[in-house]
Symmetry: C3
Subunit: 363 residues, 3 copies
């Protein structure tokens, strides 16, 4: 895999100057770059590091003086991370899954394998499963019976897709992702302490100790186009209807999405976020790392939650939230600042009580 | 798989009316239901959706006027989720693991495989492992040497059971669950900063930088009957004794249970809950999603923790807790309400100081 | 595997008394110990339990009166957990991976397998992968193309190592650990709401709804010597450079380390800790369970974070922190104590306002 500087500039739609026929094999950080690397130096702060490396060409910020930096050629970009998207897509060397179906894979004869599909070693493809054209299934994956995967998908190693899942095109799954485990849904014969606590906000009542009966998951998981799920993340089957992940949404590593939940389009669920069952999440929602969402609420379009937020009630569209429980970020900041002053406030109140009521300080 | 309306009513022990010989292939949400579906409409709020669908029969709330809803037959239930448990168990189409041992599975000749056991493709069953009658082992599972699994267990794909684990009957494991990883247990040659912090509640002292020595796990994992563990969750081996999960307890996805910990009977550990090592958890305990539990404490019978609670000290039986650190839910709510008023309290205190002490407001 | 009491004492460098030729097959808790077990009773509180068991020998605290406890022999130690490290290492019966390469493993002919390497059933070893002498690869593992693993490593079952990872000697990976998933890195064509929130600390501005473009991971993962990673934990590839885990560091179950992050030497990342991308973590850092770390910050040498801490900004070396957001543990404790008194402070302030300003209490 190699490109000229000009080919990369063209792909980015970005201007290039100097010797644009230079050959590029890899991208590199400025200080590490060698003569066949493209140095990624898209802000003035990288200029110095660039001089430490041996790059002959670089991606630079607009207006950068590439000749003064000793370069032979350069590409100029205005939105660095957009350039990163284009360049890294071109130079990705992938994981090396061989074309075709590996002879060690166990593929059910009723499975429908599209044109140009690669299936790695020791995969299991179940009865009537369908895999769309151009998809790459990494080693040791499992695709359950009656599951359908779209075109040009990429599954890394050891991904599992449960029976009856329906997944769109260009789906990407990182190693160990689990689509279609059964939902976590149990019930006690009589009213349980948890049910009482939810009603009373804290009182378990006199519910007796009981065992849990299982509610099976008859639904599956339905995933739109252009979705990515992270390593070891889990999306559970719905109970009666399907659990849904909308097109363009991205789930990071170790994210959990519970049964019946519907995630909208173009959402980002960052690392270790957990969404309980029967939650309705709108479009363009961003949940920071380790966000938690209780069951049976809705989160409106465009909501942004800071990392660590625990969302315990409905959130209207457009709101930026933080905290445990999650509140408007501005409110959280105001509360937090006051908290920092709280020990002093406590002392002030004692002094005031002494002065006003002539009473001795309490403990 | 199909049933008559009457068969389902009988299984639930619930009254049915109308044409109870109707054939049912699936359960469906009221608005999605077709003519061979059983519509799940167990509260009056679903009546309208029912009319949008094409259901001929439904599960309804007690006293519902099924004829007025245009149905031909109905079952009446008083505790909807209990009915869900019964109906979904009947209509579960499963994952399609074929009977018998798949020829691609690697089964040690010394393993004891019970009557009617199914073992999916590409499984590994270790030396002297025992699998009880009627159990279903999904594709690509691993059962370690000397491990024992009870009767009628169900392992989804890619579950791993470590050596010497002892597991009861009717165990269910979702994809990627890990039973019997080694515990996370390390020690430094001399007293470490962490040990000092624990003693002093915050002072690392002058402990020098040291490397960690590993304490191996000689114990295993011991699991009772009727336990379920979620996708990608992890239960670690004990150090000397076994880690224990009591009968009837259920662990959700991505839950972590550390070495030596003992979880009692009929507990629910919700999504992403983490329990450290050497914790004693009683019976009928419910830990909401993302609960965290520090090591070496006990949690009494019937304790309920709200989602996101961080439990940093012993919790007596029956307590309902919330927060970081976890306190009684009522206390947490009171503190939280006061926090919301804190910015105003701060302003009030400044005004009071000005009035009483004639002093200028502080920063 | 069996030892005499003397052999164990010698390995620990600890004094032994009595019949030191006793044969030991296992370690056991004092009350469970049988005649061929070594009872682990390293503090006076275990003396009573010891009498309930049938141990003939034990590991005891310094100065313990072993004869009075009815023992025939004993070893005496001063730092019990250090003794645990030595004893458990000797008595670990392991997982039983057979020597040599199992015939069901799919090993690329260009892979370099060192001397004395064991490769379990149904493993996949990719092109040009290198496995150092004496390493044990458990069943159903995956080692990607061009990955390099050092000597005497131990991979439990179903571990996956991505392409181009570089891993040192004595690496231990628990079941389902994922090294080298792609980083979670996306960008919108125009400025997004999240970018605005980060700049303004809370205002998403008028960013329009957009889809996410993927930034591929061209970097890999680089791991030093003596590193251990827990069950189902995930370490992502870097974008341009490698993600790095320094020698001697240990990651617990379900820990997440994002792309480009560099973890120093001899760190402990406890269960379910999540570290975002591009974080710089020093040496000898301990992050308690469920700690979260935002992206693009640094954490200095020797920092200790209590369980549940959310680290939202740089942390200087040596600091002990706690809370959400993480602050000095002493500060957190002071704030927390004041919070507990907050409802009363609120009442006091109302009373003061009434007395000083003669105004009625607010809501």
């Amino acid at each position: 895999m190699q490109f000229t500087l000009q080919q990369i500039a063209d792909a980015l739609g970005a201007p290039a100057e100097g010797n644009t026929s230079l050959t590029i094999l890899r991208a590199a950080e400025p200080a590490d770059a060698g003569p066949t690397d493209l140095a990624m130096a898209m802000a003035p702060k990288y200029a110095e590091a660039l001089e430490k490396g041996a790059a002959r060409c670089a991606v630079l910020w607009e207006g950068a003086d590439w000749k003064a930096m000793g370069l032979e050629g350069a590409i100029f970009v205005t939105r660095p991370r957009m350039a990163m998207a284009g360049i890294t897509a071109m130079l990705d060397r992938g994981q090396g899954v061989e074309p075709g179906v590996h002879p060690s894979a166990v593929v059910d004869p009723t499975a429908e394998i599209g044109k140009g599909v690669s299936i790695g070693p020791l995969c299991v493809i179940g009865p009537r499963a369908r895999i769309g054209a151009g998809s790459v299934i990494g080693a040791q994956c499992h695709i359950g019976m009656d599951a359908a995967l779209g075109e040009n998908c990429l599954l890394r190693e050891m991904v599992s897709i449960g029976a009856r899942a329906v997944i769109g095109d260009r789906f990407i799954a990182q190693p160990g992702a689990r689509i279609g485990g059964d939902g976590f849904s149990f019930v006690t014969p009589e009213v349980s302490g948890v049910e009482n606590v939810r009603k009373t906000m804290g009182d378990a009542g006199d519910a007796k100790a009981q065992s849990w009966l299982r509610i099976h998951s008859l639904g599956a998981v339905e995933i739109g186009d252009d979705v990515e799920v992270g390593a070891n993340c889990t999306v559970d089957n719905g109970t009666i209807r399907n659990t849904v992940i909308g097109s363009g949404s991205k789930l990071d590593n170790l994210v959990h999405v519970g049964h019946n939940t519907r995630v909208g389009r173009d959402c980002l669920l960052c690392g270790q976020t957990g969404v309980s069952g029967s939650v309705e999440i709108g479009n363009n929602v961003v949940l920071g790392g380790q966000t938690g969402v209780v069951d049976n609420i809705f989160i409106g379009d465009g909501v942004i939650a800071a990392g660590g937020t625990k969302i315990l009630s409905n959130v209207p569209a457009g709101r930026v939230i933080m905290g445990y429980p999650g509140v408007k970020m501005a409110t959280h900041t105001e509360i937090y600042k006051a908290q920092r002053r709280l020990p002093r406030i406590a002392r002030d109140v004692e002094a005031l009580k002494k002065a006003v009521f002539k009473q001795p300080p309490s403990d």
